[in-house]
């Protein structure tokens, strides 16, 4: 999908603004605190200027002996009040708004995670690419600061600008109007002008960085080929061209942002001069007092602080918008896996499995990497399963063997509805799996995937994913089944030992066995075990296979493996090659 440049700008942000609305109260309060900080800054400078001028005039009158009384306490108190308010409001605002942003982060993360949980197996497989995941996190981070960068500052600064004009209006309406016009013009430039000028480049920047990243990764992965073919220099050139593209955009944006920052100073200072000049006219005509003449330009100068927040945020608006569009596409993606209106629960007994002329095509490109036209060609390139038919009787143990990429995992994914077939039917207990309730299906069919996915959590937590009701005895029982009981007993923290990257590193074989234990804990009536013994030594395999043989009794079992060695109790072997069953289907 080509990003729609002209299309409704607001509609890209609409879902995110709607999400923000849930925390409306906080957002308004945060913006108010921001405004209070700005108002205090304006008040401090304006009142100080007014006070000095008043005292100067009074001082010169006193010097010639005139009797003047000057109230020095109220302005003095006001100055101190503004000074303290500015500090306190600023501190409070930062703290409060950070809290808000972190709340929004929690909302967004959970919201996006909910979206991802609806994706089907194939999309999830694609999503594992590290680069994609990193961009997703970066996109979410971009949007959680939407409020703090793009909503509150323009709002608070607009109100501050109006406040300054209002203040001036009390003393000299003829000054207030041109000042308001000039400041509004500056504000408009900083918000809309910067956004418009930076839109294309800041959108491109993200894509250019992505492209540079993939070229760099490609180069590192292909070093052997590139060096042998003596084309490393050529690839480096491509990479360097891409880098230059990125830098061109970054340079443009950097200068544009510099322009914006300069315009803040320029616009505010020129407006202050305008206020002074107009005020001077009134002063010489005796319609404006000296102190008020000073107050006006000083109040205008304080607008600097209000407007300075705009250029960095709005120059990069295009990047924020691109992030919103990418996430919108992801949110809009519908899983191909849908439950029927009134799903049936799968009966509690070892199921019978029937595959009837099942074919599976790689579907069209997923909605979130949709830059390429893979969809039209993919079907031609490969068929994952081609007219597969077989059946497994209740309680039977069947091995499905074949090389990697032959389609074994697809068969398993079809059974638990991580994917649906392009044509043909899959039956469990004579019920089409499409009619079954997905949760009951997955509860009754345990599936040990080829990839071992353990979470950064304790051993117990990892196991309990298989069965949240499991008590400690059950955990030890399954650990015994996979021959990890002794190992776990010797851990200082036992079942509370943290596993995964930030905790104790498990060897590949140990991780595999934990994953196996987890799926056994489900006590499901059917087990799909995809290469259950990867990374285990022969002796361990023998021990586990023996215990497993007893445990699997009266359960329907489908093994997926390279070959059928060491798989306990296999009564029949189906052989799969390039998506076709070549033997064993009867």
């Amino acid at each position: 999908m080509k990003p729609d440049n002209k299309g409704s700008f607001l509609s890209d942000f609409a879902p995110w603004l709607r999400q923000l609305r849930q925390r409306q109260g906080r957002l308004w309060l945060g913006a108010l605190l921001m405004l209070l900080t700005l108002a205090a800054a304006i008040g401090l400078l304006a009142l100080s200027g007014w006070f000095i001028t008043t005292t100067a005039i009074a001082g010169s009158l006193l010097a010639v002996g005139a009797a003047v009384s000057v109230d020095i306490y109220r302005p003095g108190g006001g100055i101190r009040f503004f000074a303290v308010t500015r500090t306190a409001a600023r501190y409070g605002e930062r703290l409060y708004n950070h809290d808000t942003v972190l709340r929004l982060l929690a909302d967004l993360r959970a919201g996006m995670f909910a979206v991802l949980t609806r994706l089907d197996g194939r999309s999830l497989g694609r999503l594992r690419a590290a680069e994609w995941l990193n961009r997703l996190t970066a996109d979410i981070d971009t949007l959680d600061s939407l409020y703090l960068r793009l909503l509150a500052p323009p709002l608070a600064s607009l109100l501050a600008v109006c406040g300054i004009a209002l203040l001036l209006w009390f003393f000299a309406p003829s000054v207030a109007v041109p000042v308001l016009a000039a400041l509004l013009l500056t504000w408009l430039w900083l918000a809309l002008g910067q956004a418009r000028l930076g839109m294309a480049a800041s959108r491109r920047r993200v894509a250019a960085l992505d492209r540079l990243r993939s070229l760099t990764i490609e180069q590192l992965q292909g070093l052997a080929e590139l060096r042998c073919y003596r084309t490393l220099g050529m690839h480096r050139q491509t990479l360097s061209d891409q880098e230059q593209d990125l830098y061109r955009d970054q340079r443009r944006l950097g200068r544009l942002q510099a322009l914006g920052n300069a315009v803040v100073g320029l616009g505010v200072s020129l407006t202050a001069v305008l206020a002074l000049w107009l005020g001077a006219g009134l002063y010489t005509a005796n319609t404006l007092s000296g102190p008020l003449l000073v107050l006006m330009p000083l109040a205008v100068l304080a607008a600097n602080e209000a407007l300075a927040l705009l250029p960095p945020a709005f120059t990069q608006l295009g990047a924020t918008r691109a992030a919103a569009q990418r996430l919108n596409r992801l949110v809009a993606s519908r899983s191909e896996i849908q439950e029927v209106e009134q799903p049936v629960a799968l009966a509690e007994r070892p199921p019978k499995v029937v595959f009837e002329n099942v074919s599976l095509r790689y579907s069209s490109a997923s909605p979130f990497d949709g830059d390429h036209e893979i969809s039209s060609t993919q079907s031609l390139l490969a068929l994952a399963l081609d007219d597969v038919s077989f059946s497994i009787e209740p309680g039977e143990r069947v091995a499905l063997v074949g090389a990697s990429g032959s389609g074994k995992s697809s068969v398993a994914q079809l059974l638990v509805r991580l994917i649906d077939p392009s044509s043909g039917q899959v039956y469990l207990n004579d019920r089409n799996v499409l009619e079954l309730s997905i949760s009951s299906l997955r509860q009754r069919v345990g599936y040990l995937t080829q990839r071992t996915e353990l979470f950064h959590a304790s051993l117990a937590t990892n196991l309990c994913i298989g069965n949240s009701q499991a008590d400690e005895d059950m955990l030890w029982q399954v650990l015994d089944l996979v021959d990890l009981q002794d190992w776990a007993k010797e851990l200082p923290l036992g079942l509370d030992t943290w596993v995964g990257e930030s905790g104790r590193q498990l060897s590949g074989g140990q991780a595999r066995r934990v994953a196996l234990a987890r799926v056994l804990l489900t006590q499901a009536d059917m087990m799909i075990l995809d290469e259950p013994f990867t990374g285990l030594d022969e002796a361990t395999v023998q021990r586990i296979a023996e215990r497993l043989d007893t445990w699997l009794e009266d359960r329907t079992v489908l093994y997926l493996n390279h070959d059928n060695r060491c798989l306990p109790g296999v009564s029949r072997t189906l052989s799969l090659r390039s998506g076709r069953i070549v033997s064993g289907a009867e």
Partner: protein, 569 residues
Amino acid sequence: MRATRKSDISTPRGWLGAQSQDVKGWLVLAAGLGILAGLMTMLQMGALAWIIAQLISADTPLVQLNGVFVLLLVVIAVRALAQWGQESAGVEASLRVRSKVRALLLDHLAAVGPVGLAGRHTAGLGGQLIEQVEALDGYYARFLPQMRLVLVLPLVILALVLWLDWLAAIFLLLSAPLIPLFMALVGMGAERLNQQQFIAVTRLAGHFLDRVRGLTTLQLFNRADASIDEVFSAADDYRRRSMRTLKLAFLSSAVLEFFASVAIAVIAIYIGFGLLGYISYGPASELTLFSGLLILLLAPEFFQPLRTLAQHYHDRAAALGAADGLMKMLELPISTTKHEQEHEQVSVTKASGARVHITEASVSYPQRGVVLGPITLSIASGECVALVGPSGSGKSTLLQLLAGFIKPEQGDVEVDPYTQIAWMDQRPWLVQGSLADNLRLAAPEASDAQLLEAVAQADLEELVSALPKGLTTHLGERGLGLSGGQAQRLALARVFLSKAPLVLLDEPTASLDADSETQVVTSLKRLVAQGRTVVIATHHPALMALADRVLRLERGTFSQHGTLSNETR
């Protein structure tokens, strides 16, 4: 400087400093323009105060002040230009440093070579290279120039105020000794923020990514819905904990803010009292509306550079963190023969096959000891040699030695350095782009006809002609859409296209099913028939059958009994 600073180049800070040497000019320009902008600000404030004082105290008619108004406008314009120039120069400095660092890293990683990088997560490494180099941006673009401004501008303002009214200057000066304290405070605040926050943020992002990566598992165990709450509470818990640190961290900048505000207030009140004649001490009686206003207007500017620096402090922390990672990358040991990558020009070899001589060569690794050799081997032009033996026997090492990815510890390897080599292993390397792009990696100049010929020789003709877009068909990430066998044959088409006289194949069929394997073997037969010199490491009998000679490797040396010639069978 390279000699003088060598000692601290090993620290991230020293390293960052060393990288800035080439852009010193830009950084000085940025700082210089920043100082100019600062001076213009002072001039602007002076002109404003002057005009006001003239109007109110001296009753000068407005028309006589037109000249000053014009001057004021010019000053404002120059200030805006200088400000723009300052930031643009900073951007330029940052771009140049990043470009240089990126080239440095890519050169280094290329020299580390495929063997040195084996076992590393290259996707992670590549991503890290991009992110961490980008993280240097703010440090050079903003932090370093601002660092210089902080040292100059407050002093100039102080000098000016001193000249106007020394008592007011003392108020500022009183806070001046506090400035290093502020900096330390701000620094510590930012440091704490960054250390603790960074760890927490990384952990939270890690938690999120961990759950996303494991989504299939969560779905399979019906735990996906429960995990949504878990993701939320992890983020919310992080919020509660980080708010505790933020309360303290924000205090440092609040203190800075407080002093800036209070200094303005104190000065305003002092000037007011002075102008009223309430203060008879010191210079207060000499205060005028001009000097009073100017001091008031300069007071915030005195603190402004420091406040800006505080805002950029996180740039520094980010750059230090990135420098740490990048330095680790630069420490990866180089395992390659030197200057290998410089031989980009391919000599036009007349002979279709390369000759190879290995004399008494051996290779060893620090942890594993001797993995190959000493071995002696001669391969004639156009010969096909199969290397067999159990895994770990040194087959791959021998191929890597021939390819020049590693250098022999002893002995000699003679392969013409200008010879193009074709390399293929069990993991076909594909890039994002069209089929043609993927093929041209071996021969950038190849014509479409040559591509089609190579495709035909690799038995991919049927597939390509079935594609509506033919060779321009785009492959997705990681060759998405191709089966393993198709991808391997695409890599093989690359070998055909290259015309390389030496072909090195490392278990080319190891991950293929029987059908694909047969197809690849058929194509390889054609390759051998072209008269190229081919060396194959393999377990497969069909590939051994292709070879003129089968050499058996065991624990890094040729086993005496294993060497047999197919011709004598």
